[in-house]
Symmetry: C2
Subunit: 381 residues, 2 copies
C-alpha cells in the first residue's frame, strides 16, 4: 500500500532501555493527592463565548499514535477469510498492510489515532489541546498535521524523515457498525522521549496517554517521561487502556501503572475485565475502585459508569437515530469527559458530555466529529 | 499543501498541437446513426444475478481528471473571504492550493474526479467500466488507484513520475449542502493521447468524456483520440459539460463538439443555458434538441429532462430524507443513466436510475456511493 517500504517491520526496539529501567522511571511518576474538584461542587459554566482565553494554558496534552485511518465497509466473511478478530486492533507490518489494502474495498481517508481523535474532539468542544505524535514527511503526514492544526490544536512534533512512512490504520466497518482495526504504525512508532517538550506538558491540566503506546518501546519511554513531568508539576495524568488485546500483551505493566501513577483511567467493559482477568464487570469494578481518582468505564449502549473511591455514578447512553460506525466512540467519550473535567464539572456531567460526543461520532463514518461539538452540548449539560 | 512543489503552475501546454489541429481531428470523429435502442423497446432485465459476464467487454470507458477530493465543511463567509464563486469549479496552481489548504478546516480524503466518480457509480450498479486518467507515483496516487480498482474498474494508466504530484480537488461544503471546488490538477493534467489504448476503447459500448478535460491541452488531445477510435468502431461517445465556467471558457469548441460528434450529452441547467447563452432553460432545450441522440439535463430537486430528437421525457427527483452534500450528484446521475443505457433501457428508465444513484450520494459526505447501488435499484426500475 501507500508508499510503505515492503518488508520493513515495525516495533523494532530503537534503544537499549530495559523494561526494568522503564518501570523504575514509572516509580518516579508518583501521583499527587486526589483532584480537588469533586462531584457536587458547583461547575464552571462554559458556553461558546467562554472559550479559553488565548493564553498558553492547555486543557489536555495527549501522546499517541499519529495515524491516518483508511476506512472501508466490509462483510464479516472478509474478517474470517483474513483471520482478523472482529472488534480488535492488531499491529501489522508493511507487507501485511500492503496485502490487506489490496483486498479491501474503496476507502475513505480521515486523520485518526485514538488520543489524537480525543484531542480533536476536545478542540471541537471548545477546549485547548496539544498532541505529541510522529508522522513522516509525506502526503499522509501532511494530511494528519493539517487536520489537527486546523482545529487549533498545538502539534509541533517534528516529522520523521528516515524511511518509515506515516502510519495508517485499516478499519473495516461491518454491517453491525462494529469496527475492526489493523494498524501499520510506520513513523508513529518512532515517537520518543525527545519529542516530549517539558514546558508544553507543564502547561496542560491533564496529560493523556494512549494505551496503544505500550507497543512501541520508544513511544512508551515518551509516555513515561511525560507522565513524570506532569506529576512533578502537580498536573493530572490520564490513561486509556485502548484495547483488550493491548491489555493482554502488557497486563502486569498496565496494572502497576494504573495502581501507582494514573489519576483518571478510561476503559471499556472488555478492557477493564481483561486488566483484572475478572469474570464479570462488577468484579472488575470492585478490583479497580480506589486505584485512581476517577475510573471511567464505557459500556456501549448500556452507557457509562464512573467509579470514584467512594461512589459509583451511572450515566445512560445518549439516544441516537442511526448507528453507522462505532470507530472513535471511546475516543470521543474521553474527549467529552476531559473537557468537562478541565472545566471543573462533576463526574456525572463529565460522563454526560462524553456520551453526547460519542453519540455524534457513531452516527457517521469516521472517528472524528463532523459537526461542532460545542454547538451540540450548548444548553444540554 | 500535500507535497505539491511550490510555485509550479498547472496547465502549461505540453505540446505544440494547435487548436486548429485539434478541431481538425474532432472533424474526424463523426457520429454514427442514432443508437438503435429507443424509448419504448422492451428492456433487458438486470438484477444482481445478471452482472455482465467476465469477458473483456466494457460498458463504459471514461477519460477524466484523476483527482483525490479533500472535503471540508465551510461557511459562506469563507468563500467570500477567499473570493471563490459558490457552486463553481476553479483551477488553481500549487501555491494557491497550498495557501487555501492552510486555511481550510479538518478534511476528509476520498477519491474523486467527475468521470471517475461516474465509473465508480457504474461499477457499484454492477456495470463494467474502465478509466483513463493520470495520477502520480505518490501516496494520493496509490489511494486513487486502489479505490477505483477495488470496484472492479480497469485502471491501467501509467502513473506520472516527473514532478507533479497527484491532483486534488479542495471541496468546500456550505451549510446549504452546496459544494464549491478549487482544483489543483497536478499530474491529472499530464494525461495524453499515449495513455489511450485503442483496443480498450473499442471494447466499450460508450466512451465517456469529462468536459473538464478541455482545460489541459494534452488531456483534450487524449479525449479527441478516444472519441475518434470509438466512432470508428461504431461505438457511442458521451460528454458531460462539467461546469458552467468550463463551458464559458470553451463555448465555441464545446458547441462544435456537441453538434457534430457527441451521441449522449449530459449537462445541468446552468451548463446547458451557458452553452447557448440562453435566457431560459426552455430556450436551451430548443437549441439543443436534435443535436445529439440523447441530451440528459439535470435540474437538482426539479428532476431531469431527457431530450431526444422527437420527444421530451421528464423524470422527477428521487425523494431524500436529508440533503448533506451535493458533491457528485451529476456524476452519479450520469452513472445511473449510462448503466441503464448500456443495458438497453429506455430514456425514462435510464433517468430514473440516474435519479436513484444521485439521491444516494447527496445524502452523505463525498461524491462516491457509500452503499451498493445495485442493491438500491433492485426491483425499483
Amino acid at each position: 500500500m501507500i508508499a510503505a517500504p515492503r518488508g520493513s517491520v515495525v516495533n523494532e526496539p530503537k534503544s537499549t532501555t530495559t523494561k526494568d529501567q522503564i518501570n523504575q522511571k514509572l516509580q518516579n511518576t508518583k501521583k499527587h493527592p486526589v483532584h480537588d474538584r469533586q462531584a457536587g461542587e458547583s461547575p464552571t459554566p462554559f458556553t461558546a463565548d467562554s472559550m479559553p482565553p488565548m493564553t498558553t494554558a492547555l486543557d489536555v496534552i495527549a501522546i499517541g499514535n499519529a495515524l491516518v485511518d483508511v476506512l472501508a465497509h466490509a462483510q464479516d466473511s472478509f474478517l474470517e477469510q483474513n483471520r482478523i478478530s472482529k472488534g480488535s486492533m492488531s499491529l501489522i507490518d508493511a507487507t501485511r498492510a500492503e496485502a490487506l489494502y489490496e483486498t479491501m474495498g474503496p476507502a475513505v481517508e480521515i486523520s485518526g489515532g485514538s488520543a489524537a481523535n480525543s484531542i480533536a474532539g476536545l478542540a471541537s468542544l471548545g477546549g485547548k489541546g496539544a498532541f505529541i505524535g510522529k508522522v513522516s514527511a509525506d502526503q499522509l503526514g501532511s494530511i494528519f498535521a493539517h487536520d489537527i492544526r486546523s482545529l487549533g490544536v498545538e502539534f509541533t512534533t517534528r516529522p520523521h524523515r528516515d524511511g518509515a512512512p506515516t502510519g495508517r490504520c485499516l478499519i473495516f466497518v461491518t454491517p453491525d457498525a462494529q469496527r475492526t482495526m489493523q494498524t501499520f504504525l510506520g513513523s508513529a512508532a518512532q515517537v520518543g522521549p525527545d519529542d516530549v517538550d517539558p514546558e508544553q506538558v507543564k502547561r496542560a491540566q491533564v496529560t493523556y496517554l494512549e494505551g496503544y503506546l505500550f507497543d512501541p518501546p520508544e513511544a512508551k519511554r515518551a509516555f513515561v517521561k511525560a507522565a513524570e513531568i506532569a506529576h512533578d508539576a502537580h498536573r493530572k495524568v490520564a490513561l486509556t487502556l485502548s484495547d483488550r488485546f493491548c491489555v493482554d500483551r502488557h497486563r502486569a505493566e498496565f496494572q502497576e501503572l494504573v495502581h501507582g501513577h494514573i489519576d483518571i483511567l478510561f476503559a471499556n467493559e472488555s478492557e477493564i475485565t481483561a486488566l483484572y482477568q475478572a469474570g464479570s464487570f462488577d468484579t472488575a469494578v470492585q478490583a479497580v475502585r480506589g486505584k485512581c481518582d476517577l475510573v471511567v468505564l464505557t459500556r456501549s449502549e448500556k452507557g457509562a459508569v464512573v467509579v470514584t473511591p467512594t461512589e459509583t455514578v451511572t450515566v445512560p447512553a445518549e439516544p441516537i437515530t442511526r448507528l453507522v460506525d462505532t470507530t472513535g466512540a471511546g475516543d470521543q467519550f474521553a474527549a467529552g469527559f476531559l473537557f468537562g473535567y478541565t472545566r471543573g464539572r462533576n463526574p456525572r456531567d463529565c460522563a454526560r458530555l462524553g456520551a453526547i460526543a460519542a453519540a455524534e461520532v457513531i452516527q457517521h463514518f469516521g472517528a472524528r466529529p463532523e459537526v461542532s461539538l460545542a454547538s451540540l452540548i450548548q444548553g444540554r449539560v
